[in-house]
Amino acid sequence: MSATLAPRRRDRVSRLRPAAVRSMTAVRSHTDRVRSRATAAAAAGTGVALLIAASVATVRDDLVVGSWTSTGPDGVETTETMVQASGGLAPFLAEPGLRPGFTIAAVLLVLPFLALAVQAVRVGRVVDERRSRRLLLAGATWADVRTLRTARTRAAFVRGGLLAGPLYLLLWLVLGWALPAGSRLLPPLHPAMLAAWLAVVGVLAVAAQVLAVLGFRREERLTWGGAGEGVPSRTFVALTALGGVALVVVLPVVARVERVYPALLVLGVVLFLLAAGGGAARSAAATVRRPQPPVGAPVAAPRSVPRRHRRRDVTVHLLAAAQRRGSTAAITGTAGVLFVCGLSFGVASSMAAQLLVERLGSPEYEQSDLGFYLTGFGLVAAVGVVGAVVAVAALLLSLTDELLGNRRAVASVAALGVETRRLVRVQAVALRRTAVPATVLGAFVAAAPTTFGLVLEAAGSGHWSPFIPLPVGVVVVVGLVATVACELLARLLAGRVRQAAALENLRVP
């Protein structure tokens, strides 16, 4: 329908009765099921991350490990007792000074899950927008549509929040109870966790409301404006990147911010995420403005490549570019999260390299010390891996949904004579173009300064350690793993592609 209603936001309350809302938001189709499960899973992940942060932040230090006495300049003697948490926690959890790092990691783990949630709520976007349009046509007001949407998201989020409790318990069994004393990663359960769980459910219910309203605003614009997906502006990308650098790097130099640095770090990472995501979305959207060679036209390719391959490449890349343009929102979230994951790999690897280069072989550092640090870096990298997996899941969710929503277009491309094999290649290229640059760039940005410093130092001292190239090696490995993962995921999508390319999808809906 071509009508354009200028949406005026004079809210009136929906008259829908709760029973009608429940009936109308009931999970009916396959898409509904995927959306509701993915949203609940993302909410559960967010909830578990928050519970981990809460449990670490509320560790009680009740174990006296020693005391030391000092005499001040005024001759007064003060005795300080050193305490630690009981329960056989791993050292970086047991020592109060090291705990904030762990909490930050847990809080940052919320980011990929939120990106997944944003994507999950948008599952079935094409169908959903059509549904909204039809509801409006039947006499629904925006308030009605919003009520339905919020109810749906809130139900999934609350389900996810309730699930977070048992999931945390499972995680605790694996990472706490099952591990030998002294290396446990989660503190013993205590009654306050029950309250934390309830609080998490409440926070998630509120988050659902916010997410639904924000997503709704976007949809409202799209449904009637038809302007296509919004792409972040260049100013947005530049400002968020500069803001992140200012918070994380510049501010600590010019001001005393030690107390709030953890919060600054989280905020800075969020800004980096937005900047990287926005940049990726811009690059995905920009392909439309770049003149593309017509399909089959001679393109600038090496002479040695057979003509057949050249042509195929152009088709696949054109289709992949179109697909990426269609999902800039998914790319923003995924690329941003992957960039941050890349950062964590880079940071972990360069710190490990520094440690190994400087301290390996020096007798003053004991083997156990080294193990302590390396475990810590491993943990950072592991958090990065979890984040990357969740982010790629979000991208996969978006691509599958894109395939399902545009199956008519996919089917007509297939009917034109593009084989399924090439359509699968399109998925691989689309995935790769988003995931690999973001991850590699993140890892590189974090690893490059350290490597550079180590090289300078080695050049000065003449002592070249075999660990100097470690961060660069990690960047290469991250790139390779990401590429292979994308290819494998595209294979996984082959069934979906075949479904979407089925000729029956050419029927008028």
Partner: protein
């Protein structure tokens, strides 16, 4: 000889458009179109594709606020209502039937038809009962639990008509309502829609390019390039 300009206003008119003009990004769709439809009257709006037929219907339904001129539905100036109020007016007193694709996917036919009642705050059970009765009226009593995707084009269209009729609308607006139906189904669907005017005294506007549909109307308003080319009484 056959054209007789109708008075552009009238007491008790169901729908009045006065000098309505609208353009989509500088492409004019309607230019100074005036039209009055009285209760009990069936008016066919015809013309070649792109002549502004559908835009006229969207203006009449309050889905589109024209850039110039005014639209009055049941004596209420639509420009004076905000979007929510127009939606409420639409679901209470106006039935809308489009060529296809207005049933909400993944919702049973029964709930689809009950929708205007539910949106008005109706009880779920009572609204569903009313929807079942409406489905009986269009001969779909056995398809109540089906979802739109499982229906043929004709069934879906009859369901859409059942939904448009469930509130006993005072104005029925139809945009190419039978273009996707075969001849027999089209005839049945038309009879149902005409009953709004012939039996219940409502006003019916049929936007169509089909002469067989236009020939069911009391009056034909022919548009060309967004203007009223000719208005003729057929009865």
């Amino acid at each position: 000889m056959n054209s007789r300009p109708h008075e552009t206003t009238g007491p008790g008119a169901a729908l009045t458009l006065r000098a309505v003009s609208h353009a989509y990004s500088r492409t004019p769709a309607l230019r100074e179109v005036s039209l009055t439809v009285r209760p009990g009257e069936v008016v066919a709006v015809t013309g070649p594709s792109g002549c502004g037929k559908s835009t006229l219907l969207h203006v009449a339904a309050g889905l589109l606020v024209p850039q110039a001129g005014s639209a009055e539905l049941l004596g209420v100036d639509l420009a004076g209502l905000d979007e929510t109020a127009r939606a409420v007016l639409r679901r209470r007193d106006v039935g809308i039937v489009l060529q296809y694709g207005q049933l909400v996917p993944d919702m049973t036919l029964e709930d689809n038809v009950a929708l205007p009642l539910l949106l008005e705050g109706g009880e779920l059970a009572a609204s569903r009962t009313a929807a079942r009765d409406a489905l009986v009226r269009v001969g779909l009593e056995r398809a109540g639990q089906a979802v739109p995707e499982e229906l043929s084009g004709g069934q879906a269209q009859r369901a859409a008509i059942a939904r448009a009729l469930i509130t006993s609308p005072k104005v029925l607006l139809a945009d190419e309502p039978v273009a996707s139906l075969d001849a027999v189904a089209a005839q049945d669907a038309l009879e149902l829609m005409l009953s709004v005017a012939r039996r219940d005294g409502g006003a019916v506007v049929l936007v169509t390019h089909d002469n067989l549909v236009a020939a069911m109307a009391d009056r034909e308003v022919r548009l060309r390039d967004g203007r009223v080319d000719r208005e003729s009484v057929l009865r």
